[in-house]
């Protein structure tokens, strides 16, 4: 139990540091910005108590907000993403359900499952985030494209990272 907790705490810290030191600097004329730190929510175990899921997502968002200086923007997006996660998981559940002891990993459920799971949740997170950040519908389409392209880049980075970090 403690070991599990420490493992996820480690992921939490590493992903935040990676976001601040590496992914924050990726942008094409300010148009595309990947927010790869959401991988933390994707990787949490299937049967994590839902309360813990929401609270850890909120903490993740709040820490990000503190570093980015944007009160409430990241935390709103991560909490919404965490809330939708059980429904997305149920949507793509295999016929016999998720076995205890398995984790939401590319290596266990295959590329197609992982891509669908990642894209839907990252989509939710990024669209919430980008529209809250701009805070107006005036630039609806330019924000839409920024969110869409960033979503693609984030998903791509997340999926590629799975081949390197969690290969069996």
């Amino acid at each position: 139990m403690i070991k599990e907790f420490l493992k996820y705490l480690f992921q939490f810290v590493v992903l935040i540091l990676a976001q601040l030191a590496v992914f924050k600097n990726i942008e094409f004329s300010g148009y595309i910005n990947p927010y790869v730190y959401v991988l933390f929510i994707l990787l949490l175990p299937f049967y994590i108590p839902r309360i813990v899921l929401l609270i850890s997502a909120f903490t993740l968002g709040l820490v990000m907000d503190l570093f980015m200086g944007t009160p409430g923007v990241h935390s709103t997006a991560t909490v919404l993403m965490a809330f939708s996660r059980p429904f997305v998981l149920a949507l793509f559940s295999p016929r016999e359900g998720y076995q205890t002891g398995t984790l939401p990993r590319l290596s266990e459920f295959g590329l197609e499952w992982f891509v669908k799971y990642t894209i839907i949740l990252v989509f939710l997170h990024h669209f919430t985030l980008f529209y809250l950040e701009v805070f107006t519908l005036d630039y609806f389409f330019s924000t839409f494209f920024r969110a869409l392209l960033s979503m693609m880049l984030t998903s791509l980075i997340i999926i590629i990272s799975q081949f390197f970090v969690f290969r069996q």
């Binding site: 942008e27 839902r50 409430g72």
Partner: protein
């Protein structure tokens, strides 16, 4: 009561979600300017240390460019020293000059955090009120204008970047002096927009846009950028696309400008307006 408890138990996930989400939205919406400044201050204190480390490392990678820039700037400043001029009138007595008094004071600072990829970008500097930095000071570097100080904590300060939808500076066309507000359109980090230039003014691609000195924040004559293209908007005024002279992705050392006469100008202007 029992039913209520059962309801809460059954929907605890939804209820908790709504609670946390509304707290997040509360943070987002309730932030009035004062609370926002508080949040930025807190945010600087939290992220300041980490960002300093990351920037320390990045500084090593850009040492070559920085040295080159500093050397150029040194040369430029040496050229303005009195010792690099020769007195042409042979027998004049030195005069203590009371015609001029200091108006602007320059402080140096280092950028320790900077974003360019949002609609509202901010820059964090490693100097704060303990070094004499106050809100509403102008920030420049050798390439042109950078932003305006917005909030200050003890050792760090937050700067409203030019690349922020809330940023406006009065700019003028250097060759003929026509001025108008310059602001960022939020689309491209390399360009800003100058408006309110009447259609009879002769402008051309490549004309230089500098600060006009109005508003009392930026001194006159600092480079903003050059005209990239322009079009008439509504028939009477040009909307000019300005290529910014600064590359905001590469900021590292900046100068913060204190306008010593600003308070006097401000209080005079408020009295006039009454």
């Amino acid at each position: 009561m029992k039913n209520l408890l059962r309801f809460i138990f059954r929907h605890h996930f939804l209820i908790l979600f709504l609670l946390i989400e509304s707290f997040s939205l509360f943070l987002l919406f309730s932030a009035n300017p004062y609370q926002k400044v508080l949040f930025y201050t807190l945010s600087h204190q939290v992220s300041g240390r980490l960002s300093t480390r990351i920037e320390n490392f990045k500084d090593y990678l850009s040492l070559h460019n920085e040295n080159h820039k500093l050397a150029e700037e040194n040369a430029r400043l040496y050229n303005r020293l009195r010792s690099s001029f020769r007195l042409n009138t042979p027998d004049s007595a030195p005069v203590i000059d009371t015609l001029y008094s200091r108006r602007y004071l320059y402080l140096t600072a280092r950028v320790i955090n900077n974003t360019v990829n949002k609609q509202f970008n901010y820059i964090t500097l490693d100097r704060g009120s303990s070094s004499g930095i106050e809100p509403d000071m102008a920030v420049i570097n050798s390439d042109g204008i950078v932003g305006i100080v917005k909030s200050v904590s003890g050792n760090y300060s937050g700067v409203l970047s030019v690349l922020n939808r809330g940023f406006t500076v009065s700019g003028k066309i250097r060759k003929n002096g026509y001025y108008g507000p310059v602001s960022w359109s939020g689309k491209n980090t390399g360009f800003a927009t100058l408006i309110d230039i009447p259609h009879h003014v002769a402008i051309a691609k490549g004309d230089t846009i500098v600060t006009s000195g109005f508003g009392g924040v930026f001194p006159e004559g600092y480079l903003i950028g050059i005209i990239e293209d322009f079009r008439l908007k509504g028939g009477n005024y040009y909307e000019i696309n300005v290529r910014l002279s600064n590359d905001f992705r590469k900021l590292s050392y900046v100068q913060v400008i204190k306008n010593i006469t600003r308070q006097e100008i401000d209080s005079l202007e408020t009295r006039v307006a009454q």
